[in-house]
Symmetry: C2
């Protein structure tokens, strides 16, 4: 068994490093510095010195020149394989290692300046203005390195000098924005398990890693209800808030679309609008889950002077991460923040909110150079998104402030606003962890409300704008594998994360088993009639919303509109005549491939041309595409529209390796957003007058190129065992 495993690992190494070494081969293999798999290795086990062997089997050794090493590290008796002399505890195990050496040459190290101001023990978060300066400086350095080899070497040399979280963030932005990388981020849950898993599993992980041989180790299982019980009503949707895939998606989105940094990294096409849309969809999806679990829609956090009833105890504490995650106890009050990394009054927030609202209601905003910008048009949402978030692209951050970011900070510091207790920020202060907390959704429901005010200022889409003449959608249906038509089925599933890359001083796989929502795979069957005599290009837009509100009464369309979640969006060629479109749920352009949610990047199969989209890891997790629903069936409206793609297509040269998978919420990395329509079209604006009455339902809204179906979301409270995903 061990031998088989080692042979398999050796073969994998061959694949990864492009060289042929066999098991037991003790000769060090010098790796080509241009190898694209090397940079992600630098992000693992960030508390260990860079010169400790990397990779799952500790196969790769970065031979960094001694002069860049801390004097104590330099003094270690023997750093090269077989590492037998390290410490009293030779964690690399009793066997000889296969080994490959990266000979890092002597390079010119740029001035790290502000990036050195954050100690290695502190936390890093782009929510803090001081941290933005550090991150921008470091990202600038990493983006300016002319070759991949220089990027690799400088990254290796500076790794142990910089705060690990700052380093991981800057490296991630560099990986996405350089042209010579794989443009795929390592799985943050594997590298930083302390940000995603119950802190108390550490003891078990150590026991497995230190006591048992790799083939004898058992997964450490985390209960589905590990942060609270159903005595706390908010806990009913903890499976959504604490879902690892969702938290990864949120973090990756923010690295794809940073609000601060070098202009080349920040100035993405429609980034302000993407900020609006991604978070609008998160709230819509959260509300769908809430209605599925007999909770009312999330209440906006509007009054910042009254106690916040929702408590949250993150339980992520983990001594290895030098990090205590403070809870927020029930009825905490927000307070003015006076800390070295943030100075924010609640009055600031109120002032910014009121100024932004005034800009919305007057239809115009003012730049820092006193020019007037119109907001009441298709571009308004993008400008407003950057103002409100705010990003470096805000037209006037002095006037409109930093509302959304500063709100995160004020909430994250409610327990220790003046640092008297030396407490770090709560989970709301970090994009990797913020969604865990119920208050995230209350805050973003407020933010969404501001955007909604803007959207309500825009003229409703006319019937003409909505129609696609000659194209009629006759029938839409969903079909889950082995189930009745128009039913979607959800259940619980266990999955394993291998966290060895985040477990310092261990070697070999250590699995953590979590339980998450899952759904039975399904496909859409869309019958469409091109009544004309020429082929047309259509864009299929699929959404889903609950039909019944928290009072158990049917939604009017104007209310239901805000609850629609996007399921898919794809172009289609329509020859004249009838056609039935079949589209599988896992083809969705909203979601990423499950491999990105559960595996680390270098576990992905080597890229073949037909697998190119495999490397795209920004997007909603596939297993959370469908809301939970209810045992008795949650009645929902499936909405399908086919619009005129020829009017919507964006003319641009798209690289063959562009990340179409998951682009809908994330944008198309390195390209313009490939759909001219406002995000959320056609449901982003108030409906036209004829459809906006309190008793109007969605039927009234439909034009012939749209169709709805009643779909029942049925939840089965069973738990499926882990699927045999290729762990290696």
């Amino acid at each position: 068994m061990v031998v088989l495993l080692r042979q398999f690992l050796a073969s994998l190494l061959v694949l990864l490093l492009g060289a042929n070494i066999g098991p037991g081969d003790a000769e060090a293999l010098v790796v080509n510095l241009g190898n694209r798999s090397l940079v992600p290795l630098l992000l693992e086990r960030l508390n260990e010195p860079v010169v400790l062997p990397k990779g799952d089997n500790r196969n790769v050794f970065f031979n960094v020149p001694a002069k860049y090493l801390d004097s104590r590290i330099r003094g270690l008796t023997l750093l090269r394989p077989p590492y037998g002399m390290l410490g009293s505890a030779s964690f690399v195990g009793p066997t000889q290692l296969d080994n490959a050496t990266v000979e890092v040459p002597d390079v010119a190290v740029p001035d790290l300046g502000p990036a050195l101001e954050l100690s290695r023990e502190e936390d890093f978060s782009l929510f803090f203005p001081r941290h933005r300066v550090m991150a921008r400086h470091l990202v600038d350095i990493l983006l300016s390195l002319p070759t991949y080899e220089k990027f690799l070497c400088v990254s290796a040399v500076i790794r142990d000098k910089v705060n690990p979280y700052l380093y991981a963030y800057a490296m991630s932005v560099a990986i996405l924005n350089r042209n010579d990388t794989i443009k795929t981020l390592p799985n943050s849950a594997c590298l930083f398990p302390q940000l995603y898993f119950q802190g108390s599993i550490l003891a078990g992980c150590w026991t497995e890693a230190h006591l048992f041989a790799p083939e004898d180790r058992e997964p450490i299982e985390i209960s589905r209800n590990w942060t609270a019980t159903d005595l706390e009503p908010e806990h009913r949707v903890a499976y959504f808030r604490e879902d690892i895939g969702i938290n990864l998606a949120h973090w990756i989105w923010h690295v794809h679309n940073p609000h601060s940094g070098p202009p080349s990294a920040v100035n993405k096409d429609r980034r302000g609008e993407l900020f609006y849309y991604f978070h609008q969809q998160i709230i819509a999806r959260y509300n769908f889950e809430r209605l599925s679990t007999e909770l009312s829609r999330v209440k906006r956090l509007l009054n910042w002077r009254e106690p916040i009833p929702e408590a949250y105890f993150p339980k992520l504490n983990n001594g290895l991460a030098s990090r205590v995650w403070p809870p927020r106890q029930a009825d905490a009050r927000l307070q003015d923040v006076r800390r070295s990394d943030a100075v924010i009054d609640i009055l600031d927030l109120e002032r910014w909110r009121d100024r932004i609202m005034e800009a919305i209601h007057t239809g115009r905003a003012y730049t820092s150079t006193r020019e007037t910008v119109q907001l009441d048009n298709d571009q308004g949402i993008d400008i407003l998104g950057n103002i409100l978030e705010s990003s470096d692209l805000s037209i006037n951050s002095r006037l409109y402030g930093d509302l959304h970011n500063a709100g995160h900070v004020v909430i994250a510091y409610a327990h220790d606003p003046d640092f008297r207790h030396l407490e770090k920020e709560g989970v709301m202060g970090n994009s990797r962890t913020a969604l865990r907390d119920p208050v995230f959704f209350r805050w973003h429901a407020f933010v969404q409300n501001v955007f909604d005010e803007h959207k309500s200022m825009l003229p409703p889409y006319t019937e003409e704008e909505l129609s696609f003449s000659g194209v009629h959608v006759r029938r839409v249906e969903v079909q889950s594998v082995g189930q009745e038509p128009n039913e979607l089925h959800t259940f619980w599933q266990k999955s394993d994360y291998n966290i060895e890359r985040g477990l310092d001083f261990s070697s070999g796989p250590v699995l953590v088993r979590v339980t998450h929502l899952q759904h039975v795979p399904f496909f859409y069957r869309i019958q469409v009639h091109n009544t004309g005599n020429r082929a047309r290009n259509g864009m299929v837009r699929i959404f889903l919303a609950p039909k019944i509100d928290e009072r158990r009464l049917p939604f009017s369309f104007s209310e239901q509109r805000e609850f629609f979640i996007e399921l898919d969006k794809f172009p289609i060629k329509l020859e004249p005549g009838l056609r039935t479109i079949i589209r599988w749920s896992n083809e969705s352009t909203v979601t990423v491939d499950p491999k990105h949610t559960f595996l680390n990047v270098d576990k992905l199969p080597p890229g073949r041309p037909d697998q190119r989209t495999d490397k795209c890891n920004c997007g909603w997790p596939q297993h959370m595409l469908i809301p939970r629903g209810h045992a008795e069936g949650k009645h929902s409206t499936l909405f399908v529209m086919i619009s005129d793609y020829d009017k919507e297509r964006v003319e641009q040269k798209v690289e063959p390796d562009a990340c179409w998978k998951g682009y809908s919420y994330c944008g198309l990395l390195g390209h313009r957003y490939p759909d001219k329509r406002p995000l959320g079209f056609p449901l982003d604006r108030l409906p036209r007058d004829e459809v906006s009455g309190i008793n109007d339902n969605i039927e009234t809204f439909l034009t012939p190129n749209m169709k709805i179906a009643d779909v029942v979301l049925r939840h089965n409270d069973r738990t499926a065992p882990p699927e045999p995903l290729p762990v290696r």
Copy 2:
């Protein structure tokens, strides 16, 4: 260096195990089961299986029969030295070990019953009634084992089945109450560093242990201000609340004097009174520190319906301990507790308090069999202590409840009273950690207040009761080494704790360096005149109190009385004539030897007759004998009384190895308390009428056998390096 160390370790092993094995000797040495050093080894690294080698150099192997082992542990390839096949990570290091094997025979394992109800991940605390049942059952078993060998073997066999904290507690009570043990507890800070040190040091500890050879390791230093800053006024006395020695003393006191358990362990002479006096002294000492740092005396926690302004963030979180220590945020409100381990209404507390107060003010209490017990006499305080704490000795726990314990629980659960957030108790719920929290002192100031009501019901001591005819104290003075007379000097000192015994899966020393208060050694010079013509036996009673209150006005005696802290109490023979008594500060019967505060039990030198008191580890830490004082000098009153020991001596056969050191707060283990006077005599009661005026000072109180001196407590804000205590 390594060789020297190993030779030294080998010699130590010879001393400890009484056998001769040399370095490099790979023959397993079978250890005599009667060896008294073996039991404490079972308490180390409690997350590791029992069959992993124990001791500082992993020298001792408990060979437990396979049938008692968990099947996965049993399956480990090779458990005997050199342990090379354990896991992938051979934490026992690359060298061959010196080894000694304890061959545990097949023994009859008693029914563990309720002791198995607590999972290994939960916390154990005697504050919870359910846990008391478990502890009593397990202690009963351990005390009933007829021989040391049986005790050792059963302890080894059940070790991995029982919750580690419950196991450690029950073993500790058994060690103290059996007649065949060393009656000394291993140092809890070394075994459970997670309860005493900042949780975030773990990363550094692992780095030292895994990366560096033992001789190259450096101490992990914890800042003196690691839980808060001086923005929080309560933090000024954190050095007292969080002092490791004080927390050890509090825990050890409670193990010496458990409130619940088998009668032989609980029913100690004057235990109720000892509860009163030890905590009275803690409050007096805390108030002395508060006045030294410009804080007012601690405010009693009287109203349990209003928010508690003091926040506390313990920062002990440590993933290895599977334990998150919730903070209490500012303005938390106490709530009725409804959890599986405790059901307490605040109304219960109020009812118990009022009934106890009524008993005090009527001078009598009622037993559960409806008999009347007088409280207004010397025995009242003992009865009341057991009622109020409460202990198993309470005469009527149905009527008077569980006031002090239940208060701890209600406060400890303020953040999650109904377990909806799955949160464990705060530090107030555990005797090892409770003193860290400012609210401990507010709660105990209330408890003290109840006791004070009782003491105020008792007749003041008459001049005759206070006097010692023919014995005059002429002059008292303190002299610190190298300083002016009547000055006491405090400063900061660093000390190292070797926590390897609490660090699973590591080997070799890992030092944590803390900074604590220290004072310059001093002695008392007491000039006493026996004017009679026969030798007299006197008892010297030495106390110290601040002279100036928080308003910067002199205390009246009736107020100052409550602030006196005991410094020493010892008998002395007085031949006729003048005599000058010299007594050193480290001879105090209030304190333990610093070795017990900073070292682990088996690091103590082997017992020679003149070192017998070395093994006594219940008592106040020597380094905290003297309050901090102030840079400008804190004016204090040294009070010395010599009373008539012939009237006070308790007739009993005292074992030659009795723990006189530190008995004053702890009692004399296995014996009656060796002083007939009420604890705190002569300052425990209201002064007689002539001395109780608002302007009366202590001078008026003095009889000829008493003397006072003005002493200045001077604090120097320097930090001394660690003293060369013998680490090995």
